[in-house]
């Protein structure tokens, strides 16, 4: 599961390097030399592989379980993070987390989907698939950002909103709709970053933002390629074709002018270097926040609305 099929040659080489390192306890110059040669080969191979990933492969990278998740970003980027829980109506959703904290000195509200990092935490966080409580918690936190005049940072990483009986009973559709509306009505800046999977309504609910960024190998789509294939091709086997047809990569969406920027991932994808990935995301947010904070409030909201209204008009 954690191994990507197209990375196999790279993984094999990396395995060999590890073996050599174990052997080379007695300092053997030849081996060290060999290792550095192989490392160069690995880098070259990664560069080649990642330069020509197809959309279906990007989907796999975007879902890679070793990619940094919401809580990794919080830990690296947010000082004094203080989690806030509950929607004040029904419960606390663990798939969509949020709280207050400080980003590079600036107080802010942070919200995001958490997928979990091992079996136990994945179950706890419901694999990042939020229920209405999650979206209502997001609304509450955004309202708080408005009250205290601090920006909102959102991190999107979800396969989609949870499809369940309880979720429907408690108004999943309404919760998402209101969450989008809350984003759009904010008088404070909201910056969204798609860090892994941007799954349909469950993603846009917290991503109707002033600036929308996507990590290089993240995806953002109206429906999962598997879902699309099973409806339009009548078989999930065609998910590769669907991934291409849906135009769900960062590059596609930048070309369609639906996102504002692409954040570079380290060589070989975010799962190879969490720290560097998070640092790049932090840099992008810092630039964005700086620009948006200096904007007049009414102008901010107007610019945001006009940005969305312009989408799809000129392609």
């Amino acid at each position: 599961m954690s191994q990507l099929e197209f990375e196999k040659p790279v993984l094999e080489l990396e395995g060999k390097i590890r073996e050599l390192k174990n052997v080379s306890s007695d300092d053997n110059l030849n081996i060290a030399d060999e290792i550095s040669k192989m490392q160069k080969k690995v880098d070259k191979l990664l560069k080649q592989t990642y330069a020509k990933l197809n959309p279906a492969q990007i989907v796999q990278v975007a879902r890679h379980q070793d990619r940094p998740h919401f809580l990794d970003y919080v830990e690296e980027l947010i000082e004094d993070y203080t989690e806030l829980a509950g929607d004040r109506y029904f419960g606390d959703d663990q798939a969509l987390l949020g709280g207050i904290g400080r980003f590079k000195g600036q107080s802010c509200i942070v919200i995001g989907h958490e997928k979990g990092s091992n079996t136990e935490s994945r179950i706890k966080h419901n694999f990042g698939m939020a229920r209405p409580e999650g979206y209502r918690k997001a609304q509450r936190l955004m309202a708080m950002a408005e009250q205290f005049n601090i920006p909102v940072l959102s991190f999107v990483d979800t396969a989609g909103a949870y499809p369940g009986v309880g979720a429907e009973e408690r108004g999943q559709a309404e919760a998402i709709a209101k969450s989008i509306e809350t984003c759009l009505r904010l008088h404070v800046p909201i910056i969204s970053t798609i860090i892994g999977e941007g799954g349909s309504g469950g993603a846009i609910a917290i991503a109707a933002a002033d600036n929308i960024y996507m990590l290089e190998h993240s995806i953002y789509s109206v429906i999962s390629p598997e879902g699309c294939a099973s409806i339009l091709w009548r078989s999930a086997e065609y998910s590769k074709d669907a991934a291409t047809a849906l135009k769900l990569t960062a590059k596609n969406l930048k070309e369609l002018k639906l996102i504002d920027g692409i954040i570079k991932e380290p060589l070989g994808g975010a799962h190879r270097n969490k720290r560097k990935t998070i640092e790049n995301v932090g840099d992008a947010i810092e630039k964005s926040i700086h620009n948006l904070m200096s904007m007049d409030k009414d102008k901010l909201i107007k610019t945001r609305k006009n940005k969305f209204l312009a989408m799809g008009r000129k392609i």
Partner: protein, 320 residues
Amino acid sequence: MNWLTEFIRPRIRSIVEQKEVPDNLWKKCPECDGMLFHRDLDENMNVCYHCDYHMKISVKERLELIFDDSNYKEIALPEVAFDPLKFKDKRKYSDRIKDSRNKTGRNDGIVVALGSVGGQNTVIAAFDFAFMGGSMGVAVGEGIVTAAETAVKNDAALIVVPASGGARMQEGMLSLMQMPRTIIAVDMVKDAGLPYIVLLTNPTTGGVSASFAMVGDIHIAEPGTMIGFAGKRVIEETIREKLPEGFQTAEYLKDHGMVDMVVHRKDLHDTISRILNLLMDTNRCCKKSKNGSKKGCSGKVSRSKVKSKNSNKAIIGKAA
């Protein structure tokens, strides 16, 4: 004699009648299997007169049903990019659009019209389910934006009538972006102090239910309408158990607080008229004057009302 009248004559008649009666004179109710005579069904607004099942009606019938005197003017909608992703599954999306255009005679899955309901200026944006299942792509989103702008410009209420499976996959993320876009649109109407009513019709699901359709001032649903975010099959596959009875119906949503009222098709016009009058004609009745005595308002209406009444006449004139 008996043999002739009881056996031969009915058989002859049945042969003759079969030739005279075209198939489409009778319809079968999909809910109760009851036979429905087309003229009676028409008169009953396509509602089964055995079990009250609300069948689909055309956009034209829908607009005639809601607007006063069935009178309205269709608003031209802006051109949008054709097949922006060059999408192709088993068939080309461009071919699917062309088919739907030929079938419906429309450019895309939404119609916007201006007229009056209960004497109040009203814009209706109605989805056409016959056009690719009423799915929402750029054109439909743009239709709702146009409807909202028209409502604000004419001091009119906005009624959106979804009948849609959700976002149109073949337009990918451009479809998903119609969720925020349509919410921006209906918020323009709300911000102008004008009523925004959603009339949920069968079905309203997916990205359509999770956007403009769930942020109305008032949510009205036709009986039996399927309303929900996730599809039944997806939920069943996720939870691996049978769904409760009546799950995701209009009645179920009313019980769970998401819909204000479930209204029979025959009562829609009157119900919407009453609501719009209550919300737009807010100062019709007697007001207490300063000295405490009641002062009749002699049919005077608020200033904004006078304005809209006047513009109303102009519209009706045009619509005719």
